[in-house]
Amino acid sequence: MPRDVLLEVGCEELPASFLSPALADLERLAVDGLAEARLAHGPVRAMGTPRRLALLVEAVADRQEDRVREVTGPAVKVAYDAAGNPTNAAKGFAKGAGIAVEALERTATPKGEYLLARVQDVGRSAAEVLPGLLGASVLALKFPKTMHWNGAGRFARPVRWLVALHGEEVLAVEAFGIVAGRRTRGHRIHAPDWVDLARPRDYVSALRERVVMVESSERRGAIESELTRAAATVGGTPIRDEELLDEVTNLVEWPEAVVGSFDERHLSLPRPVVVTAMKAHQRYFALERPDRSLLPNFVMIRSGRGEGAEEIRRGTQAVLRARLEDARFYWDNDRKAGLEARVESLAGIVWHERLGTIRDRVKRIEQLVEELARTLAPKSRSLAARAAHLCKADLASEMVRSGKEFATLQGIVGAEYAAAAGEPPAVVQAIREHYLPQGPSDPLPESMEGILVSLADRLEALVGGFRAGLEVTGSQDPYGLRRAGNGVVRILVEKRLRLDVMATAAWLDGIFEKAGITKAPSTVEFGTFWGQRVASALEEAGIRHDTADAAIAVRPGDPLDVMARARAIDGIRESPDFEGLMTGYRRVANLLRSAPPGEIPAGDHPMAERAENFGAKAEADLHLETKMARQAVETYLQAAEPDYGAALRHLLGLRPAIDAFFEAVMVMDEDPGTRKRRLGLLAAVRGTFLRIADLSAI
């Protein structure tokens, strides 16, 4: 008869962020393990709190399913002697497989005929199989950081007990030097005594009686209703914050709300500052009134229930009061000092020992913003430059320098200071937005001023990073350079801005050079790095890998342009002529690659030859076709919106001329003049293609 299975790993408080991934892993490991072990089962649920990771599997079969396994043995030709009697090889194989020699079968393989044994695996009992399976699942759990405590294994925090039940029986699971039993514990403070579990299905209810809500989803729901209930008592609603909700769910075993309040005069602080003071360390929920203004109240979710709300309220209020008073102190001092003074004191904060102070960096950002605005948005130039000047001022503010929770508000708090100082709204917005985007799904800056400062901030960091020889390789991104590069690509592509980043980087390099900042040796060139950033954006956009390489190889600088060229290539790759053209193009490219150096003019060929010089008609034809193609391609490319599709379609038309040329003409002619002329013509063909892409990457 199928029976339920329970596994509980009782541990000391796990970091909140470890819990959900560990439960997902545990469930997956168990499901995979059961399938592997051929144990039929019902629903599987992983559940847990900071103090326990549990697994409940319903209706696990009593025995593994039987199975017949086919095992291949020695070749038939060595298995029987001339008389047809089994050799030792056959006997040994049969013995190992546990069947009679007479029961051996044969199987035909490409290498000849081999012996085959059908081995009957009789399922073992679940009680035999489960301990190893469950133990292995626990030991296979991975955490970002682990420790040891008794020398008998590593885990995120010490494991103190194990429960493993199969129906009413204890399973002999052993891990971390602990033998599993049926004893668990309730809430650390409210129900600390050990309790015996009779059977798996009692688990959830037994814990609920002992002040533990073991299922995360239930806890999360309970927190939400507690929040709503508690907020209503002061006439407000909780400000929705999924991240905080997830974290608090994994910090408590039994959630109960406690409402607290703070001095109303702190509401004159910027809202993000007040909300951060509540959220960052304290994990309190902020509340708002029906008109969405902030209430001078908060909700704290305690772990536990019953008496003590008054004591807890008093304690939590005192901590928040200290934090808000710190914030007020910083806010007042910073405004008194003024933004300009803060900009100047950036000269006291080292950005990087080779790259100078943050003040130096801001000067470069200002210059770059002006340079970018010149072509991208002349009208935004002066406000963007002002925003660039102020964008890092908050890094010198006491609010951010305190190193407290408000340090996370860089940019946001800088905007608040700018607003308080009466800076124009566009400047305020640009300061607030210029740290965007932080990640691939982050919003982008909305205003043109914000876009300019964000681009300049990232490009300065990138080009400076390469100057200083910072590390960009490997799986880590310790200086955030890859993230910065991806941000630049995203802004340019999604905001449809044309910018040649390679040229801009070269311009910026000049600024660094002038400042006397020499280039440190680095393993990766900026161009390679930038090409990789563009490539990953193209991949995201669903462009074929080799198409992306072909488009990037010729001009990687302007991601919007690379994207357009790559899309055009993907567009003609389905065309029936494409493969034929590629064959011709590859011959052109291969010939050029294998030609002796010095025989072909470097780069593109001027095509100055006069038609009458060509001996063969095919050569003269290709010359003419190429000349016309070049003109057409240039026309398409120089349009305000280059039409790469049309240009490529035109190039497809070169195919017959290329084919005929190779048919009729021997390129490597004995006469050096002829040879050189023909190689020059092929270089011109290739050069025409290279205006769009390097198709040899395909």
Partner: protein, 300 residues
């Protein structure tokens, strides 16, 4: 079981001493030199190394020169008190024991929110790290709890549990005062009566009057002495100078005399000495046959 609330700071100390004495700890007195934390006391730094069991508790006056605020910030001091407990090996019920100690100093846990918030502890100067928690009482950090994984660069086994109580915080909480300065130390003396003048004086010294060139010179000399003594196998005298270096470094930092690059390099120098000290200690204990092991010769 919950006892009545202690009325004074010194009563909290007495109760903690009684509690951990009953738990089998050796009660020690503070280290005689300036340290930034109880971890620097040889009773922790050395005793966590090697296989010998060790249970001890002590108060440690902890100097953090740059944390001073001339006695004006309600909870920032350049000299505060830690109550330090080390249990090696860490017993399986160590958290229960810790919670029991809170009851013993008058905290009725059922009426509060007690929370273990993840905290990865690291001391770059000691080459030590561990995993554990900040313990929060109603949102207030009252204790640092660490399972030591490494000290002086050496992996640790058995693992020590280190419990560091922030006694001023706990006392403020129990007495319902918001400023450390207002704490009732004894029945008739407050913290301010005893320490305020000194706190202000030390802040003037740390931030304005300390002599940076002299301190740099001291650092060099102390470092030389530490290395010389440790190489000569004089573990405790050598370590004394390591601790002095660490404190001189803290003074220089408070004075703003150390640049970012120097800072990293100087920390590395202290760490190197700490590693040397740890190695010398381990060698010495091994030569003694680890006398505190069960059945050892006990001739420590």
């Amino acid at each position: 079981m919950s006892a009545a609330k202690p009325r004074t700071f010194q009563e909290i100390l007495l109760r903690l001493e009684q509690f951990w004495s009953d738990q089998g700890c050796v009660l020690l007195q503070p280290y005689s030199g300036e340290v930034g934390a109880g971890t620097f006391n040889p009773a922790t730094f050395f005793r966590v190394l090697g296989p010998e069991p060790w249970n001890a508790a002590y108060v440690e006056p902890s100097r953090r020169p740059k944390d001073g605020r001339y006695g004006e910030n309600p909870n920032r001091l350049q000299n505060f008190y830690q109550y330090q407990v080390v249990l090696k090996p860490s017993p399986p019920d160590v958290l229960d024991r810790y919670l029991e100690s809170l009851r013993h100093i008058g905290i009725d846990l059922a009426r509060h929110d007690v929370r273990f918030v993840e905290d990865d502890w690291e001391s770059p100067t000691l080459g030590a790290w561990g995993l554990g928690w900040e313990v929060w009482l109603d949102g207030q950090e009252i204790t640092q709890f660490t399972y030591f994984q490494q000290a002086g660069g050496y992996d640790l086994n058995p693992v020590t549990a280190e419990i560091t109580y922030g006694i001023e915080r706990i006392a403020c909480y129990l007495q319902g005062v918001e400023r450390i300065m207002d704490l009732q130390w004894s029945a008739d003396r407050t913290w301010s009566d005893l320490f305020l003048k000194g706190e202000v004086e030390w802040c003037h010294f740390n931030f304005e009057q300390s002599n940076a060139p002299f301190l740099f010179e001291l650092f060099e000399k102390f470092e030389g002495e530490a290395v010389r003594l440790l190489k000569a196998g004089l573990v405790l005298p050598g370590y004394d100078y390591v601790v002095k270096c660490s404190h001189v470094f803290n003074l220089l930092e408070a004075r703003g005399a150390i640049s970012v690059t120097e800072r990293v390099a100087t920390i590395a120098r202290v760490r190197k000495m700490a590693r040397l000290a740890a190695g010398a200690y381990l060698k010495q204990r091994e030569e003694l046959g680890f006398p505190l092991l069960p059945g050892g010769s006990r001739a420590s």
